[in-house]
Symmetry: C2
Subunit: 295 residues, 2 copies
Amino acid sequence: MSQFTDALAEDARAVTETLDRLLSTEDSAEARLTEAMRYATLNGGKRVRPFLVMSSARLFSVAESCALRVAAAVEMVHCYSLVHDDLPAMDDDELRRGQPTCHVRFDEATAILAGDALLTKAFQVLADPDTHPDPAVRSDLVAELAHAAGDEGMVAGQMLDLMAEDATLGMSEVTRLQRLKTGMLIGFACESGAILGKAPEAARHALRAYVHDLGLAFQIVDDLLDVEGDEKEVGKKTGKDQAAGKATFVSLLGRDRARAQADMLAGQAAQHLELFAEKANHLRELAQFVVKRRA
Amino acid sequence: MSQFTDALAEDARAVTETLDRLLSTEDSAEARLTEAMRYATLNGGKRVRPFLVMSSARLFSVAESCALRVAAAVEMVHCYSLVHDDLPAMDDDELRRGQPTCHVRFDEATAILAGDALLTKAFQVLADPDTHPDPAVRSDLVAELAHAAGDEGMVAGQMLDLMAEDATLGMSEVTRLQRLKTGMLIGFACESGAILGKAPEAARHALRAYVHDLGLAFQIVDDLLDVEGDEKEVGKKTGKDQAAGKATFVSLLGRDRARAQADMLAGQAAQHLELFAEKANHLRELAQFVVKRRA
């Protein structure tokens, strides 16, 4: 795994550098906005979504500089969703990645605006010719990211998640909720490399199958960490789902079956990648990393 | 003016119909999200920005169906900004267009998510091949809208506006604030017709000059209505800027000079349109409409 974790760390460093460049501070009166945007994105994080972008882009020999911009855009969307999700009117979280959340460090209004600006910036980055010389590719990236992040994807999942506190959800409903809330953005991250590389449909299909299983495994482990994880190690408040009475994979399956299910999905995810032979080794190892992580 | 007001009403109707179609409700568990998105966009409004899109698109004989989609996207961005701006952590408004604001009618969390989803949907609409067959045009529209709406535009203006309560701004700072907060989105609306129509640079330049003056006039009148307007007629709380101690064009210039300045700008705006001869009559009349409106 050490070559893999090196690669993960190296891509995390590169995308952080890209985010740092794209979110540069100017000496303007509204600098507070950029500060909050930087605070929300440059505070570490595993950068799993950027790694998916980079790894899938490498399957199709996409230029590193193009892939990094897409990776940064995906991370902006992920970070905006965390900033808004942490707001008092939403999940009301004060800790994220071991640090005060954006609205605690700044204030609620600034956090709302920083989230809005990060979401907007993500589309700006994708539509910029620097991201890909072919406008059809850029336009596709925008359409697919919006589909994954909006009312047919992530935001719908967040809405369901908010409503889940008053409802008793079954397995299929929790699966759909999580597919929308986290699965679709992870799905875009993985498929974006194929869009950038104008990959044939068979390759895109394989990546979609892989990331479908990976996304579910990822979420089951998130639920397990909420129950089993150490608050310090996880970097955010744990035990929240249970306290809120939310149905999760763990509450529905129990810890042992949830763990077994995550392991099964990680193995299954890897099997979808045969087409790419050893070029997809990082993606295979990512599936194992996702289920073995402690945070 | 009656032909003009008919045209304004007809475009408002057509863009409302387009919004209605783009934001269709499905019988899904998260239907509450779509309901809130529809509530925020289908509640009337003058539809000035859509009219700018439609009028500029007509200068270059752009297909009506394409222009309507761009008009709808711009209105989604405008409406999302109102929803977030009205939140308790921001301007804390309970009334908008004579109706309860989105977070009052639904709740804060739903309003935050509905705003996020509207912003995302706007980019999705622009990137869709139905908006223009040429992906370079779609990509340009996305890039320009993001530039106008994000941390180099509208959101930066909202940040400045929030900070303005603690600061004493002069004329140039208020002008910059308003240029960012409202001017840039109005600017995009006006230029989008030229992007759709692949208009030559001279035409784009003329439109930019027109909308620069129009945007300022629009904002000065907004400030005047906040002081002079009747709450019922304006459809939102008035007297707010003064209560918050905010510097506005009216507090800086006084009512008479502000009114004279708005009239001057409206006249000047129209003069930039010579190039288009009588084809630009609607845009000329819009400048007069903007300064004469009572809401």
